[in-house]
Amino acid sequence: MNILEVRDLKVHFPLNRRFFGPPRDWVRAVDGVNLDIRRGETLGLVGESGCGKTTLGRTIVRVYEPTGGSIVYKGVGGEESNLALLSRKELALFRRRIRMIFQDPQSSLNPRHPVLQIVGEPLIVNQRMSGKRLEERVAELLIKVGLRPEYLHRYPHAFSGGERQRIGIARALALDPELVIADEAVSALDVSVQAQTINLLMELQGEFSLTYLFVAHNLSVVRHVSDRVAVMYVGKIVELADTEELYTNPRHPYTEALLSAVPKPDPRLRNKGARIRLTGDVPDPAHPPGGCYFHPRCRYAEERCRVEAPILRDITPGHSVACHRSDELKLLGVRG
């Protein structure tokens, strides 16, 4: 059962805005994304910087206004609401159910507020909680994320990076959300702390039956936490499959290249297997190339790829890919 159904979502930002008349150009940060998130799963969203993964995550919570398309949220009882069309007032209910965890705990926590206020803010705003009850609830949340409840009155500067990220997680959990969008939630952390935080997120998922949209660029981390993975390139989803399937049997040349670029933590695997090196940069989303956006960097590109844009289609149940040649190509995944 799906918790969220994103259909043909477009987020375009105006560029070179003029004083009168329409803007000259648009950055197509998210350009026609279709995506289902199932209740209780972790959906990984990967891609290079500038591919639109953060914009997609933020648009779901309506930090950015969608230009077109729909974001349908399905409640436990089956009721449906299109988040893209709701007014600010109507959105308030869903702001409780969908929460975000940000990448940089340094800049997402107000340095002038104590933990009590940072974590308690959603409770104060949404449930008018105050005084003793608020303190108890925040202390309870701190324990859940592995922080000492005595730290209630400390300020963010008194915590390490990993602890700050836990504060961010506690804040996200304050209102018992259903869907949590974790935007590069562990990217800024050191390996040992990163492992602790990943474990914490997975434990909390079981305990509170959370659904995660896990946005990240680190493919090893995504493999660890995700049930399914979507790969994004220049505002579009190019491949989506179960984690195991996507990593061992990628069907899009971009996914293959991404996987082959990940450094493997074993010197004995060095120089083994064909390395694929992508040349050139990610295209400018304001002026993407014609046809398949990936064709200038694709080593399998042929004439058709230059003119005709591929659409995302199912090739096997649960595995969809946007590539003209996915049926004929033999692509390498991760072995082992």
């Binding site: 702390v193 492992a195 997975m202």
Partner: protein
Amino acid sequence: MSAKPLLEVENLHTHYFTDEGVVKAVNGASFSLAKGETLCLVGESGCGKSVTARSILQLIGVPGRIVSGSIRLHRDDGVVDIASLDARGKEMRAIRGARISMIFQEPMSSLSPIHPIGEQVAEVIRLHMRVEKEEAQERAVTMLRRVGIPQPETRLKSYPFEMSGGMRQRVMIAMALSCTPSLLIADEPTTALDVTTQATILDLIKDLQEELGMAVLFITHDLGVVAEIADSVAVMYLGQVVERAECDAIFHDPKHPYTQALLRSIPKLIVDGDRHLESIKGMVPHPFQRPSGCPFHPRCERRLANVCATLDPPQEWVGERHGVSCLLYSDVEKLKQRQSAESV
């Protein structure tokens, strides 16, 4: 790989004297680097790896200072101890940028935003070599072409903001290598880049290293990158090198409990069943609250009661080129005797 040493760092101490107390950023680090070798310095943030690198170039700002230890650089005309040189002196300035050069994590903040990149590369060349402006310009073009910047003649006039992250890092590499240094220090040069760009930059550094025969001191926290490029590895924790060995030994026969724990905590592309990651409990201690004895003992699963908290672990050689600073590999009784003899 020749066994001839190029750089030997011994018992280096770099401390910062702040108003709140002394931060012992580097506290007795030792390692050596042979000609043409790639040494990876790994560790978590705050372990002192960047300060070590900056000490080698004498780039420590106030209130920091190299307190003791030596950094011996072997040159054709003899050995020089960098730690004893005047940071602003003529000799140090001749080493910095020419013999040893450095690239940084964030190329945008190390390049000047108001000068075209051609001018910036040519400036380094003119500083260290007696060449005319035109010749420096030509060399800059050659270097930019060598690092894979398309149409370098026209790109000379570009400003850093007009380039992508990967291209900027290439410009930094061109600058760093324009005087053919014998040692390149790369401080997290690929951390801010995407995996695909990272892979091409690592390839580029490797190719250039082979071509120019320089040694590379590569600082990173990413063990995947280490496995890809290192000849040997030094693992740092709280300002000390706790284990150093050849790359294969670090990954397949790690001795120090910290190295072992670090390796277990990395998420891998190949997952077998269990999705729970082993993690190191606790966190890196605050610099003002350094544990006594072995700096890792409060987080260590194999610590010895009454031993690890009191004795400083000396470096022991467990293999030909495999050193480890852990009391599990030391003769504890002997150390205790020596310590009590010293205190008398």
